[in-house]
């Protein structure tokens, strides 16, 4: 079982934050097929968040095929992120660390690096949306 948290200053909508946390846990192997997600009532009560927000997040995850709702029982993870993509993750993470090292050597401070990275992510997201 995972525990959710919300960052009210992140500028990311609460339901998006919940979705990201589930995806993140899947990628890191913290959630596997068959695991149950906390009930809507539990999440609403512990985070003081609107139950519709939790429902919306779970529905979106269901639409993506990551979880399935069993009526009257709960919401369960249906897909384990494959070992291969976990391995790819590690390799990419190493490459990114190396890239950050090169950027620092080129004289960029961490804030500039973050700005560069965010801009690249945003423009990729925009292309994906088109």
């Amino acid at each position: 079982m995972i525990e959710f948290h919300l960052d009210s200053r992140s500028g990311v909508a609460p339901y998006q934050q919940l979705i990201r946390q589930v995806r993140h846990a899947l990628r890191l192997g913290l959630l596997r097929a068959g695991d149950q997600l906390p009930t809507v009532k539990d999440v609403a009560g512990s985070l003081a968040v609107n139950p519709n927000t939790v429902l919306k997040a779970y529905r979106e995850l269901e639409y993506e095929g990551l979880v399935a709702a069993k009526p009257g029982v709960g919401t369960f993870v249906t897909k384990t992120v494959s070992e291969a993509s976990v391995a790819a993750h590690q390799r990419l993470s190493l490459e990114l660390s190396a890239w950050i090292g090169r950027a620092q050597q080129a004289g960029l401070d961490l804030e500039s690096i973050e700005a560069l990275f965010q801009r690249a992510v945003r423009s990729a997201a925009r292309e994906e949306a088109v």
Binding site: G45, V49, N50
Partner: protein
């Protein structure tokens, strides 16, 4: 949702005290099935609107319907609506148990099991006098009474305004837990917009008795954008971008706009806005407009 009965429906609603109007010509629909945040500056008419909706006041003009009926139409209507007034009042001289007994006598749909369970969960002593409870516990007691009534609509007037951050969070946790369990509609007035962003899924901004903006929170956040870029006039923006606020320096312009379509102009840096930014934007928008009107008056 289209033919669902509204939680609150006001048409041309007004209330006058002597010469002073506390609410004028207010027309609004509060949809059912949501946790609705009602925000606006002090004096906007929020408490007056709530008092009219709960039947504590009679309107001077117009009509208000709650769950499809007049607030003062009888005991059946009173049983359908839970109400927690400002400062979450309780009877200081009565114990927690006395409050529960009182609730049981006064409410036909009283759920004694629910009341007892909630009080137990909160760790409250039944023998304690309400006057000796902390502010947070008093608020929880008032909320418990309203929940045990098994209302279809729960109206809360600034329930968390005077609570410390921990008590505020605990109050909202219980409220959300109950909302998930009992499935009632909630209307809550508050200045704590950051809290409303979590617990609310629908927002109404009321300024000078007028609804400035109303809609589902996710939709409002998705359709408002902060644009910054090289200096440009308000008139230079496309017609589908409604300007809420703008500010300019020698070289730079900043706009808060509402637009259903994505912002594609590459000159702008587009940043997402929080619900608080949106609410403050509309409040600033309206005070700037009334300042304009005052200046025009002064010139004449």
């Amino acid at each position: 949702m289209t033919d669902a009965t509204a939680a609150i429906e006001a048409r041309g609603l007004g209330k006058r005290y002597g010469h002073r109007w506390a609410l004028t010509d207010c027309t609004l629909t509060v949809p059912a099935g949501h946790v609705v945040g009602l925000v606006g500056p002090n004096g906007a008419g929020k408490t007056t609107l709530i008092s009219l909706a709960t039947g504590m006041l009679a309107p001077t003009t117009g009509t208000v319907e709650v769950l499809g009926a007049r607030p003062t139409s009888g005991p059946r209507q009173l049983a359908r609506v839970g109400y927690v007034a400002q400062e979450t009042p309780t009877y200081a001289g009565l114990s927690v148990a006395d409050h529960l007994r009182l609730g049981a006598h006064l409410n036909p749909r009283w759920d004694a099991g629910l009341a007892r369970r909630r009080i137990e969960q909160l760790g409250m002593d039944l023998k304690q006098k309400a006057g000796n409870l902390s502010g947070g516990q008093r608020a929880q007691l008032a909320l418990t009474l309203a929940l045990a009534k098994r209302p279809e609509l729960l109206i809360l007037d600034e329930p968390i305004a005077s609570l410390d951050p921990l008590a505020r969070r605990e109050f909202l946790q219980v409220l959300m837990d109950a909302t998930a369990e009992q499935e009632f509609s909630v209307v809550m007035s508050s200045h704590q917009v950051a809290d409303l962003e979590r617990v609310g899924d629908y927002l109404i901004v009321l300024i000078d008795s007028r609804v400035q903006v109303a809609g589902e929170v996710d939709h409002l956040v998705a359709t408002h954008h902060l644009l910054t870029g090289p200096r440009r006039d308000r008139a230079g923006l496309p017609a589908n971008q409604q300007v809420i606020t703008d500010s300019h320096t020698g070289r730079q312009s900043t706009f808060l706009v509402r637009s259903d379509e994505p912002i594609i102009d590459p000159a702008w840096t587009v940043s997402p806005v929080s619900l608080e930014d949106i609410v403050l934007g509309y409040m600033g928008h309206s005070s700037a407009r009334s300042a304009d009107i005052k200046m025009l008056g002064a010139r004449r």
